[in-house]
Symmetry: C2
């Protein structure tokens, strides 16, 4: 009875998005078996299915990083308090939210160590050791690690006290080269988001008040979730020579003069899994873009007790594995239960194969994104499946782009912003800004939404700031955000 109850629970409907988006999200991360809670608040177990998504993200991005000359390294987990304090803005930004190690074994440490919330200070200490000459530049480094930030409120993938990420850190002889790197890495992120995650993004610099602690410029990727809220999904920072000066990193130039080099850092995190869920998911659960789906095609044998069905499905699965990530579900569960479970897990394609299909030498392919069923000749699968997977990526991307467009409001006044949000719900508000922090705060106070970035794709919506009416400098993308 308990067993049956448990089986039933797995196909039980999750909360609908319309009814309660936050609860829907929590249901999906649990029922798709992405994470499990632990006894430490904000620290989660990433389960095999969730971790496999991350591994696919890692593999694709790591290839892009290496193809552009970056090398992976590993920096220590610990930052001595005195090292964290070397760059003034940086310590102000991070010290309030770090975890402190005070004891090693039975002994109190002479100096507290924080667990890295980000590793600029560690890279700087290392650069100071290894960089002497212009010949040592540039260094293009990256690492895949976890970091810790002691957040007060937490949500799976979106905001956790420990999270996995990659952090790129580079150092260059000239400001131009470092700025170019900052932009190049943003472009790599954009390409990854669009091609692999099927998520359109708005990109541009953050305003002064919203920059990374210690950065001269922070470029950000902002994605729109299904509910119209913004999610910052990646950042690329240009540091100028501020860190180099704080950490005493100098090199001898070709002119035999000592000079300070210029730095960047850039990062993306397991938050991208949250972005996938909230961009593509639906009331049946997760919907995964094929590039990062742990299983791209789930083969479900129908009437599998009939002679030959299971063997044929097994042989077919092995054939598919030559060109896609296919798996067979030969468990004792009913086909209907399997359909629901693999929908919950967001598997892009389901292949159904029964005795009658075998006789006719075809099978049924069902798309997770549209639910569309196609009967396909068994001999045509090498051609059809890659096409369908590409089409699923394209459909997901188009849908997300349409959602973004539908919920992007161009506004000329605070009143208009409030009206649009009230009528159409959350979204990206494009409105002009004079560049003053007071007006950034003013918009937030009046409308509740904050600046996300100053999009590279500027539009001249009007000539004046929506807040003070003075001459506008930029069009800002404003939104409620996760």
């Amino acid at each position: 009875m308990a067993e049956q109850g448990k089986q039933k629970k797995l196909v039980e409907a999750i909360t609908s998005m319309e009814q309660d988006f936050a609860q829907w999200y929590t249901d999906v991360v649990k029922k798709a078996e992405l994470v499990e809670y632990t006894s430490v608040k904000g620290c989660l177990v990433i389960r095999p299915y969730g971790y496999a998504i991350w591994e696919h993200m890692q593999r694709i991005m790591d290839e892009m990083f290496k193809a552009t000359g970056h090398e992976n390294v590993y920096m220590p987990l610990f930052i001595p308090e005195s090292l964290l304090e070397k760059e003034k803005d940086h310590v102000e930004g991070f010290a309030p939210e770090v975890a402190w190690v005070t004891h090693g074994g039975q002994e109190a440490l002479e100096e507290r160590l924080c667990i890295r919330p980000t590793s600029e200070t560690l890279f700087c200490e290392h650069y100071a050791h290894i960089i002497q000459s212009w010949r040592d530049l540039p260094k293009l480094y990256n690492q895949w690690v976890s970091v810790v930030r002691w957040e007060k409120t937490t949500r799976p993938f979106l905001r956790t006290r420990e999270f996995l990420w990659q952090e790129g850190h580079t150092i260059h002889a000239s400001a131009e080269e470092a700025m170019e790197e900052t932009r190049r890495m943003l472009e790599i992120y954009v390409r990854f988001f669009e091609e692999s995650l099927a998520i359109p993004v708005v990109t541009g610099p953050k305003t002064e008040s919203d920059k990374f602690a210690g950065a001269v410029t922070t470029l950000a990727l902002e994605a729109m979730m299904h509910d119209g809220k913004a999610l910052q999904t990646g950042t690329s920072h240009y540091f100028g020579d501020g860190f180099a000066k704080a950490f005493g990193i100098q090199y001898t130039g070709k002119d035999n003069q000592l000079a300070y080099p210029f730095q960047t850092s850039w990062g993306t995190t397991t938050r991208m899994i949250g972005a996938l869920i909230m961009t593509h998911g639906d009331d049946s659960g997760l919907v995964l873009p094929p590039a990062v789906a742990p299983i791209q095609v789930i083969v479900v044998p129908v009437a599998m007790q009939k002679p030959g069905v299971l063997e044929a499905a097994q042989a077919l699965t092995e054939r598919l594995q030559a060109f896609c990530r296919a798996r067979m579900d030969a468990s004792a569960n009913s086909p209907g239960w399997k359909f629901a479970q693999h929908e919950m897990k967001g598997v892009p394609l389901r292949l159904e194969l029964g005795p009658r299909d075998l006789e006719a030498q075809h099978c049924v392919l069902v798309r997770r994104d549209t639910g569309e069923k196609t009967i396909v000749d068994l001999h045509a699968l090498e051609e059809t499946i890659p096409q369908l997977l590409q089409s699923i990526r394209d459909t997901l991307y188009q849908r997300a782009l349409e959602n973004q467009k539908r919920h992007t409001y161009r506004c000329n006044s605070l009143e208009e912003i409030k009206r649009e949000l009230a009528e159409k719900g959350d979204g990206f508000v494009y409105a002009m800004w004079c560049g003053e922090e007071a007006c950034e705060d003013g918009v937030k106070e009046a409308t509740g939404i904050g600046s996300r970035c100053i999009p590279f794709a500027q539009e001249q919506i009007s000539g004046t700031c929506v807040c003070c009416g003075k001459t506008a400098k930029h069009m800002v993308c404003w939104a409620n955000a996760y």
Copy 2:
């Protein structure tokens, strides 16, 4: 002048192994640019070249794990003190050497959190959440993470306060299945060591006193370093149902009865890089087995200012990249300087290409392991290079095996042990043991060497314990160890 001085330093001879093995080791890890020290004792930067070796190790092992049904997960960094304390032996073994987090942001934590020294307790907490029925078993998990153990004395790769590793954790319905897993993973490690690292190992259970904290049985891999000392390079533990009972993990069996499952864990670490250095290295630096070498073939153009040389070397490098990890060194340094540097870095093959070679349509291939030079037809490289790489692996393995055999002493008495060690230097001592801890301590006291494992390949050296003279139960492998 400073520039020239620096170039010179790179080709300066390192300390010879004979003169000072410990200093030789330190020189190699620094000059081959594997690691760099930081301001936190025992926490090192793993530099790109060192990390690339680790990435190749990871890739090969991860494939082996996945091919045997294991899935990767991610468990949190933190273990609450109360969770660490649940299994008595385990906490006794690890509590004295963990790092404690006491503050998050500005606030003192209600309960201290230790940074994982190993993750059995975290996996157990998770199993208790997700395992209810026999259908949920087995779970075959692994994770690639860093762990922290607050060691007093530290050495790069061999003993560091933070190190990288993989820890496999599995849970099974029966003791037999768990024991089988324990052995299977040891076998996978042996295969990896022999095939990919070219390192022969002695394997067998640890004695009772030397087991992992909380294990019923610990199987170990012991490798012999160039200086005759032992290095434990991997372990595979069988836990019985001890952890399950301590953590209240139960499942409903097919018979509808509640039962405790059985667990294993197994791990290998960045210490394997230390094993590579001390097994294959020589007075010119690192010698890397091809399977994990970041660069397998370094192409050095000779007289590269001559027309056509650089272009030909570039084209050749690209051709080689289709079947091996090839790179060209077109830097402004002299060929001799380049030869020395790539020898220091242990690149298995060097390919020299000059104007006269081009004319004759051949090149010179130089093996790092033997120094042997071969003139090879440019058209034969697709055939010759893979053969040479395989031959380098075989030669390294044979040499290491011969070193191990030459320094394995079969002894019948404590006197004989002392004499052999005094005459022939450190090595593996095979000698009989009665099974009593007092005699294990006795051997250590009398000869200075400790038990490494009870080799699976038992030999009947004599019938009596070398220490007490009573009937012997096992032949033990004893040695000085890192």
